[in-house]
Symmetry: C2
Subunit: 354 residues, 2 copies
DNA sequence: TCCGAAAAATTTATGCTTAAAATCGCCGTC
DNA sequence: GACGGCGATTTTAAGCATAAATTTTTCGGA
């Protein structure tokens, strides 16, 4: 007795609550999980006891009893991936989506495939997680294959080359559509000579973005924008944006004869590249929007570039996260493929009046 | 029997393993947890059975029995915080540190204090997490106070104003020392006229970095570097770096008389600012390192700025993460304060021969 | 007096581990 | 050659906090 009160108060269990309320343990459980079948008076009594004891349902015991893990795993992309602020935001959305589904997001770090698979097996077969979300899925990524082989549920953010035929679930923002929206946007503002500042084709997304550009230009009859030199693969970081823009515009100032071939709108594969392009424009005394239009992708904080705001394509990252979580919880088995449309956020970098 | 084999195989439990190996359940448990007290032959037999059944220890049941949560919570900073690649890396390190301590990192999203506290209570008193790591701790941050009030163990990345007197645990990289290292570094290369491109004083870290600059300049007798106008508070993002550098160097080209007052080295509060400064230098045809030295902070991927590498101060983020995890596991009660020294990574932006 | 629905309590089960008890083999000793 | 006892293994029993399924109690109305 004295020992009990002197020691730091043990966390209260259902038994304690039941005892204090003068009911059985099961009644307490019912109050929590099916309150409607418990008499009003009893319910009140139990609630009072719970409050007095600062009782919290033991999530671990609950998870054990239900044989249903409360966690969802996320394989955190290795640091060397392009420092992408978008993935930050996505992580946030993913955690929020888990919480909305009454789950929690558990991180595991990327490493060699074997070690990663062992960790995943421990977590999944150890009943700790319901499944995994993987992102930054590369064309030759071994992870989906290995996870599938082991019967571990997962959903991928981004497809590999197999597109809609892949035997596992994936969710993705419609990259081609997103770029097309950017092209339509500047075209609607009178631009006829565009250029696409792209990245290498390491991921399907990058391929899709370029594809979207080509399709949109074709559809709008912007043949000049498809000419050689108008589609460049610089890389997706800021420094390459600076360089690529300089190359594309350099011709305009040096070679007056070819000035008709100089683009008046730069469709960039990422906000980082777009920011780099804006830097180049500014250093030449050009005003983004008025002189040359610039669009980015992902609507990251980089779009607030000092006084100029960069028009950008915003992926429905919250919806993507929610879909991934849903797929793991509701369709752990069969494959389902989800393509979500993005939205365009116009800012001053495409505003001719700016 | 037929039902059992036709249905998807239930995950094997210890009982199944024990049965197959012809031993008691306890022996299986011993093989896992105290292999040395179990006879060689038995151990082999049990291991074989485990392998055959693809047995995994049920982490949830184990955690319940041990009354010891396997998770550590991390309050994911809200997205609007300055998109900091360093925090990305830190998150990675934190997840790795948890894994090294046989724990997993669980994320919860930032939101209103009340909602956040409820979530923390559910997780901690629900035996799901052993405690929390919080980061981006502001001067008037309510979170440490509230957590402490509720008796929830936590460790903060970054102190508030109270410094070493605070009643809760924190870990931090020695920001003043880091900047001092940068100052020493450029001073050793002959620079006498420095400038500090800082941010506002929203967090103690930013105050410390400026403090480190002042102290170091004082110590080295670089009085000019402490003059008015040599310490600016631009902000910590790239765009403000571009502007601040332009302001600082602008005087040099316009006002030849005052050129002795123009700095030859820019000590920047972050890599983003440093990258901005490099952009300004490049746009004026100046070579970083040879003409003007530039240093950053946090050693993020931004330091690879095209052909020029930016000298940067690298925080011991892995060690910081490990300390935070240790504090939560080993010292959930008492406060302990840890200040870890950073390292300098020299690159071409401070190389006069560059 | 008894029926039947609603409310509450029992029983059983989840998968694991600590502590205590039981088993086994082996050796020296008388 | 049987006994006691020791040490090394292994097993039994108990319990962690919860919840589903089952049983018991309660109580108003016929």
């Amino acid at each position: 007795m004295s020992g009990k009160s002197s020691a730091a108060r043990r966390k209260a269990s259902m038994t304690d609550v039941a005892e204090l309320a003068g009911v059985s343990v099961m009644t307490v459980s019912n109050v929590i999980n099916r309150p409607q079948i418990v008499a009003e008076a009893t319910r009140t009594k139990v609630h009072a006891a719970m409050r007095e004891l600062r009782y919290r349902n033991n999530l671990v015991a609950r998870s054990l009893r239900l044989a249903q893990p409360r966690q969802i795993g996320y394989v955190l992309p290795a640091q060397d991936a392009v420092g992408n602020q978008y993935m930050d935001a996505f992580l946030h959305d993913l955690a929020a989506a888990c919480q909305a589904a009454d789950r929690n997001l558990t991180l595991i770090t990327e490493r060699g495939t074997d070690a990663l698979m062992t960790a995943c097996e421990d977590l999944y077969f150890g009943q700790s997680v319901a499944g995994f979300v993987i992102s930054n899925v590369g064309t030759e990524d071994p992870r989906p294959v290995e996870l599938r082989k082991r019967g571990i549920p997962f959903a991928a953010y981004g497809r590999t080359g197999e597109a809609f035929a892949s035997p596992w679930s994936w969710v993705e923002g419609d990259a081609a559509l997103g770029i097309a929206m950017a092209v339509d946007h500047v075209a609607a503002r009178g631009h006829r000579e565009l250029a696409f500042v792209g990245a290498d084709h390491a991921s399907v997304t990058m391929v899709q973005r370029e594809h979207g550009y080509r399709e949109a230009c074709l559809r709008l009859g912007l043949d000049g924008s498809l000419a050689a030199g108008r589609i460049v693969h610089s890389g997706s970081d800021l420094a390459s944006g600076v360089r690529a823009a300089a190359d594309l515009l350099g011709a305009a100032t040096n070679d007056t004869a070819a000035s008709s071939a100089a683009p008046t709108a730069l469709i960039c594969v990422s906000d980082q590249v777009a920011a780099g392009a804006v830097i180049t424009l500014q250093s030449r005394g050009l005003v983004p929007g008025r002189d040359v239009a610039v669009t980015g992708y992902d609507d990251t904080p980089l779009t607030s570039f000092g006084p100029v705001g960069i028009t950008s394509v915003r992926q429905a990252s919250a919806a993507i996260a929610a879909e991934l979580v849903r797929l793991i919880i509701d369709r752990p088995g069969g494959p389902e493929h989800v393509l979500l449309p993005p939205r365009l956020t116009p800012r001053s970098s495409t505003d001719r009046a700016a």
